[in-house]
Subunit: 417 residues, 2 copies
Amino acid sequence: MNAEIIAVGSELLTPYRLDTNSLLLTAELNQLGIRVMRKTVVGDNRQELREALEHALSHADVVVCSGGLGPTEDDLTRETVAELLGRKLQRNEEILRGIQERFRKFGRAMPETNVRQAMVPEGADVLDNPRGTAPGLWLETNGRFIVLLPGPPNELKAMFENEVRQRLARHAPKRRLYTRDLRVTGMSESDADHRVASIYKKYAEAEHTILAGPGEIQIHPRVWSDDPAAAERILNDLVKSFELALGENLFSTTGQTIEEVVADELTQHRATIATAESCTGGLIAARLTNIPGSSTYFLGGVVCYSNDLKTAWTRVPPEIIESKGAVSSEVALALADGIRKSTGALLGLSVTGIAGPGGGTAEKPVGLVHIGLADEKGPKERAFRFPGDRERIRTQATNAALDMVRRYFLYAARGKG
Amino acid sequence: MNAEIIAVGSELLTPYRLDTNSLLLTAELNQLGIRVMRKTVVGDNRQELREALEHALSHADVVVCSGGLGPTEDDLTRETVAELLGRKLQRNEEILRGIQERFRKFGRAMPETNVRQAMVPEGADVLDNPRGTAPGLWLETNGRFIVLLPGPPNELKAMFENEVRQRLARHAPKRRLYTRDLRVTGMSESDADHRVASIYKKYAEAEHTILAGPGEIQIHPRVWSDDPAAAERILNDLVKSFELALGENLFSTTGQTIEEVVADELTQHRATIATAESCTGGLIAARLTNIPGSSTYFLGGVVCYSNDLKTAWTRVPPEIIESKGAVSSEVALALADGIRKSTGALLGLSVTGIAGPGGGTAEKPVGLVHIGLADEKGPKERAFRFPGDRERIRTQATNAALDMVRRYFLYAARGKG
C-alpha cells in the first residue's frame, strides 16, 4: 500500500519554512504498513494543487494533504478536492455550530469568512479538530482514500491519532514496517560505514537510513514484512551484528540520546555529577538538565570563561593556567577535580578548548579540546581535535564529554574502572 | 521566472530526514528573482523521478534537482535526465581523472562504480565539485534550464555559489525579490497578529511569512519588483509601520538573534555579564557563548540546581530559600545580585523556575519562572508563566532572560534605567 503526501501553503515555498508535518505523517503511515512514495509542496494555488492531487490519485492508495483548510480565500484545499472529484460542497450545520461555540468561548463573534470551514464535499466524513476551528475531511474515491488535515502541527497530530489512524488501520495491509534506532558515537561516518558495510550486504531484505550529525551517527534499519515474528528475528540478528561491528561505540539500540543513557547510568548507580565548562559554555549542563528529574543526579555546573573564575570556582592553581595555558591537559584535570570537590559530586566533568573562529595557534589549533573526568580516585583526561565551525566543535565536544561519562560506567561495570 | 525543486533520495521519504537543501536553493533562486512554485521529493525510483521531471519541465523555467548523483546503482538522476531528453551519456575523461585523483589523495584506489559519475549527457555543462566526487550538470532544453546538484548540503552550497549563481544571473529577470527579517519577542503570536493586521492590508503588494517559535516571532515581508529603489522604499515604510505597531517588542529588523543583539549592546557599552541559572540549566550561558568573541563580555555563569550550590556560589541566604522556596522572587533577586558580586561583572542575570513536568503545585505551577537582573544599583525581578512542555518552557525562559538584558540597555539609553 502506497501513499503520497501533499503539503499546501505558500509559506512552505519560502526560504524560511519546511513542511515538517510529513515526518510525523510518514512515521504514522509506515507503522500501518503504508509506504510513502512522494512528497509534494505546493503554494496556495488552485491549479498546482489540482495537478498534485491528480498525480497522487493516479498513483497512490492513500493521499494525505496538510494545510489549506483555513477560513481565508487563500485556503483552497476543500474547494479543489470537491471540484476534482465532481462533488458539491454542502454546509454542515453541526460544524458551523462548533466553530461558533469555539469563538464564543474566547469571547469573540465568528467572522463571516469562517463559514467556509463548515463546507463539506458530498460523501465526506468530517474529522473532529479539538485544537482548532478547521475540521479535517476523509474521502473515498475508486478504492482510494483522501485525508485532508489542518496545517498546524499540533492540530494535525491530534487529528491523525484520534481520527485517521483507526480508519486507515481497517484497510491497512498485513505487510508492516519494523525498525530499530541505533545510535553511535566516537567514530567518523566513514569509519562506521566501513565497519558495517558487510552487514548491509548480508541483510539485503533490510533498508538502512544513516544520519550523521556532529559527534553522533544514527542508523535506522527497516524491514517490511507480513510476519511480525520473522521481522523481529531479522532485526534482532541485525542489531547483534551491529553490536559486534561497532563495539562500545554503539550506545543505544532504542533511540536513546546520549544524555538519556548517561542519566540512566547515574540514576542506576545513585551517582551525582557536576560540570566545569569553558568552550562548551553550558551546553553539557543544558543537555543533562533537559531530562525531567535531572536534579536527582545533577548538582550543578560552572561556565568559567575567565581564568579568574576557573580559580575561584574550581580552585585551578593560577600558576598552572599561567605555565600551561587555559587550554591544556593540566587545566582540564584540575577543573574536573576541582568541580568534583567544590560540589561534593561523585563525578566531576570538565571541558576546555578552542571553539574558534579566533584564538587558534599552530601549537593549539581551533578544534583542540581537552575533556577531564574525575572520581574519588582522581581525574583523567583526553585530548580531541574536532573539525568544523564553532557550533560543530561545541556540539562534538559536548557529545564527547557525555560519552566519556557513559564509558566510565561501562568500564566500571567490567571491573576495569 | 519560475522554478521547481526536486529532491531525490529514498532516505528523504523516511520519518528521519527532511530535504533541507530546498531552503538554501529557494533563498538563492529568490535572490535572482526566480519564484519557487513547487517542491517534490521522490525516492531512488526511475519512474517517479521521470514523472517529477516531466511535470517540472512543462511548468517551470528552471528545474533544480538535488541528489541521486552518487556512484551506486541507486543513483539514477543522470541516466533519467539523459533518457528523458533523449541525449546519450558520454564518458568525460577529465572528470574521471579528477575522481581518480581524489581517491589517490586519500590513499585509496577508485572503485569501478565511480566511473558512472564521469558520465555526462550530450550537450551538458559540467559543474565542478571541489568538495566531493559527484560533479554537477547544467542542461538547457527548449529555453528551460535543468540544474543537477549533489545531495550533501556542503557540496550543493559550494556548487551553487561557484557555478550556478552566475549562470542563472545571465538569464534572470529584472523583477527581483526584496525582503526584511523582523524579530519580535515579549508577546504572543495572536497579539502580534492583531497589532499588525492593518499593515498587511495597507501593503497589499508585500507578502508576509510569519514564523512563531517559543518566545520569538519572525516576520518576513517580501516584495517582488523590477524597481529596486521602489521596493526598498516600500520595505522601509513597512518596517516603520511595524516599529510603530510593535514598539520595543521588535528587537531586530535585520534578522539578528536576541543573543546577537545583547552581545552588541554589551560590547558597545563595554559591559560584562555573568549568569546564575536554575531551570534553564545553562541554556543562557550556551546561547551567549555561541557568539565568537563572547569572552570579552561574558565572564562566566553557574548552573546551581541544588540549594546548597545556590548559597555556595551566589551567597543566597539559606533562610530565604527555606522561607520563600527556591522558585521565588526573593531567590531570583539574590541570585542575580550574588552572581554579579561574586564574578565582578557589571550585570548579573538569574533564572529560577519550574520547567516540569513534575514539581508544580497549585501555588507554584509548572511554567512559573522568575528572572532577575542586577546592576550596581541592585537587582530587579519579573515573574513569568510560560505554557508548553519542559523544552518550550526552558527556551521561553532563556529568550525572556536575554530580552530583559536587551531592554535594560534600551531603557538606559532613554535615561530611564
